[in-house]
Each structure stands twice: as structure tokens, then as C-alpha cells.
């Protein structure tokens, strides 16, 4: 059975199993097979069908024992998780930026407020005259019974929301972005860890 053990050794070498671990497994296998031979048992009695496929046997043993290093060309992190994590973190950063801008310096807020007032409708507004063009091209004012001015109601807003400014919608949007980004990033990380744990397999499972 030396050939079987040698083939196992070659497979462990190929899999970059640490030498001390490979030597230990090979030694255990050799003494077990030798004892079986002394008792008249066949290698198949010890190894089952694995006796016909030493490489698969060696790989299974090393992998189950957890002594096979990850291949260097094998991606450790699935691209999907990296993409999702980056997207959620970008959302969180965007939310933080919006929040910071919303709670900015007083000068910024004054400027925004002034801009908002200038754009707001005035309380008293004179309506334009209604003109009618006669067939000869002459234009006359159309008399009207309605007043030609309008007074805005007292509860009309004096300011309007300005995009990118200190309006009330920005902090809320920033908070939502930040919350969604952080929550998504945490969920992505937890999913990644959970799936990674699942790949290792349950504690008690069939060989």
C-alpha cells in the first residue's frame, strides 16, 4: 500500500497542505494499513472504495480537516457582495453629505432663505388688464366687475423649498439615504458571513 500513501502525499503536496500535517496523515494511514495487513484485512476493509481513487480520498480528507489553503486565483469575496456593499456605502455617504449640507453654516442658510423669499409669490399682486383687439387693429381695455388685484391669504407660505438648500425636505432625504445605506451594508455583510458559514457545512454531516 506504499503506492497508495505516496499518491496521497503527491495530492497533498499539490493542494499545498502543510508538510507537517501531510506527514502526520500519511504516517497514520501507513500504520493503520500495516496493522490491517497483519490481521489479514484488505486495504478495502479500511478505506472502502477510496482504495481505488487515492487522489480523491486524499483531497477529501484534507479538505474535511480544513488544511487545504484557498487557491490564490479563487476569489474570496463574491463580486455580488462587493458590488452591493459598495452601492449601499455610496448611498450612506450621499446621505451623510446631504445631511451635512442641510445643517451647514448660517451664511449659507441666509442666502438660501433670501433666495426662497424672492421666488415666493407676493401678498399683493396687480393683475394685468384684459385687452381686446378690434377688427381695425385697435386694442381696447375690457371692463371688468372683478377687482384687478389679488391678495394672498395670510397662511400662504413665505418661503419655498430650494433644492440643495436648507429646505425641510433635505435633512429627511439625507437621513433616509444614510439609514438605507447603512442598513443595506449591514444586511449585505451579515448575508455574506451567513453564506460563508453555510459553505463550511454543518457540524454533523455525512462523509
Amino acid at each position: 500500500m506504499k503506492a497508495f500513501v505516496d499518491e496521497c502525499r503527491r495530492e497533498w503536496k499539490r493542494l499545498h497542505v502543510p508538510d507537517d500535517v501531510a506527514n502526520e496523515m500519511a504516517a497514520d494511514l501507513e500504520v493503520d494499513l500495516a496493522e490491517a495487513a497483519e490481521e489479514g484485512a484488505s486495504p478495502e476493509d479500511v478505506l472502502g472504495y477510496a482504495v481505488f481513487d487515492p487522489r480523491s480520498f486524499a483531497e477529501a480528507w484534507a479538505r474535511e480537516r480544513g488544511v487545504v489553503p484557498l487557491a490564490p486565483d479563487r476569489p474570496r469575496v463574491p463580486a455580488l457582495f462587493v458590488g452591493a456593499l459598495a452601492a449601499f456605502l455610496a448611498l450612506a455617504v450621499a446621505g451623510a453629505v446631504v445631511l451635512a449640507a442641510g445643517g451647514g453654516s448660517s451664511s449659507t442658510r441666509v442666502a438660501v432663505a433670501a433666495f426662497g423669499v424672492a421666488k415666493a409669490p407676493p401678498r399683493f399682486q396687480v393683475l394685468p388688464k384684459k385687452l381686446r383687439t378690434l377688427p381695425g387693429g385697435q386694442r381696447v381695455v375690457v371692463p371688468s366687475l372683478l377687482p384687478r388685484f389679488r391678495i394672498a391669504p395670510a397662511f400662504a407660505p413665505r418661503k419655498i423649498a430650494v433644492a440643495g438648500g436648507g429646505g425641510p425636505a433635505e435633512p429627511r432625504a439625507g437621513f433616509v439615504l444614510l439609514a438605507v445605506g447603512l442598513f443595506g451594508a449591514v444586511v449585505t455583510l451579515l448575508s455574506w458571513l451567513w453564506i460563508g458559514r453555510g459553505r463550511r457545512g454543518p457540524a454533523l454531516a455525512a462523509p
Binding site: L29, V31, A50, R65, A205, A206
Partner: protein, 117 residues
């Protein structure tokens, strides 16, 4: 016959880890010694994977502990014994096995009666 052997192998696969834990819970043992104890109790085949990969998994998961000791004047052997975590896993696994076994018996018992009648 081959079909019966395959079914037995598949049945054993699901509980071989429990059998190994039970064997070393009685008394620490090295690899081939476990194979012999299983055979003495009627489990003469261990399937295509043998017990070594499974022992590796039990060791990796901390369900067994290992130590080296001489065996009856022979070379030092790697002995396995059940850890405290392994004992808990064994207790839980045996309970699961008994529940599953009882459920299967409940289904198969009438069939056996008809066969013997």
C-alpha cells in the same frame, strides 16, 4: 443485492458521524481501531469515503480531541476522544436518530407484518 448494499451505505452515511462519536465516547480509539469496532457491531462497510475524512471533519469542528500515544508496543498512534461539544452533539444526534427511526418504523411496521404473514 447491490441495491440493498447501496441503501445500507446511504443509511450509514447519515449517522456514521454519530457512530464514530459514540465509539470514541466509550473509549478513545485510533482510526483503524474505530473501523474494527464498527465492524464488530455489524457495520462492516464504510462506503467509498472511509472514516478518515469524517474524522477530519469532526476534529476540525471540535467534536473530537486528539492525542498521540503508543498502541500495545507499536508506533505512536493518533487517538480520538469525544470533546464536551462532541458529547452534546452526540446527545442531540441520538435524539434526532431515535425520532427519525420511530417515524420510519411507524410507516414500515405494517409492511413487515404483511411480509411475515
Amino acid at each position: 443485492m447491490a441495491s440493498a448494499e447501496r441503501r445500507s451505505s446511504q443509511l450509514l452515511r447519515g449517522v456514521l458521524d454519530l457512530c464514530l462519536l459514540a465509539i470514541v465516547a466509550e473509549e478513545p480509539a485510533y482510526g483503524y481501531e474505530m473501523t474494527k469496532r464498527l465492524r464488530e457491531r455489524g457495520l462492516s462497510f464504510v462506503g467509498e469515503g472511509s472514516i478518515y475524512p469524517l474524522l477530519g471533519r469532526l476534529e476540525r469542528d471540535g467534536l473530537v480531541e486528539t492525542y498521540r500515544a503508543a498502541s500495545d508496543g507499536g508506533p505512536p498512534r493518533k487517538y480520538y476522544r469525544t470533546s464536551s461539544t462532541g458529547l452534546r452533539a452526540l446527545t442531540d444526534g441520538v435524539a434526532e436518530w431515535r425520532a427519525a427511526s420511530a417515524a420510519v418504523d411507524a410507516v414500515l411496521a405494517p409492511v413487515q407484518t404483511e411480509v411475515h404473514a
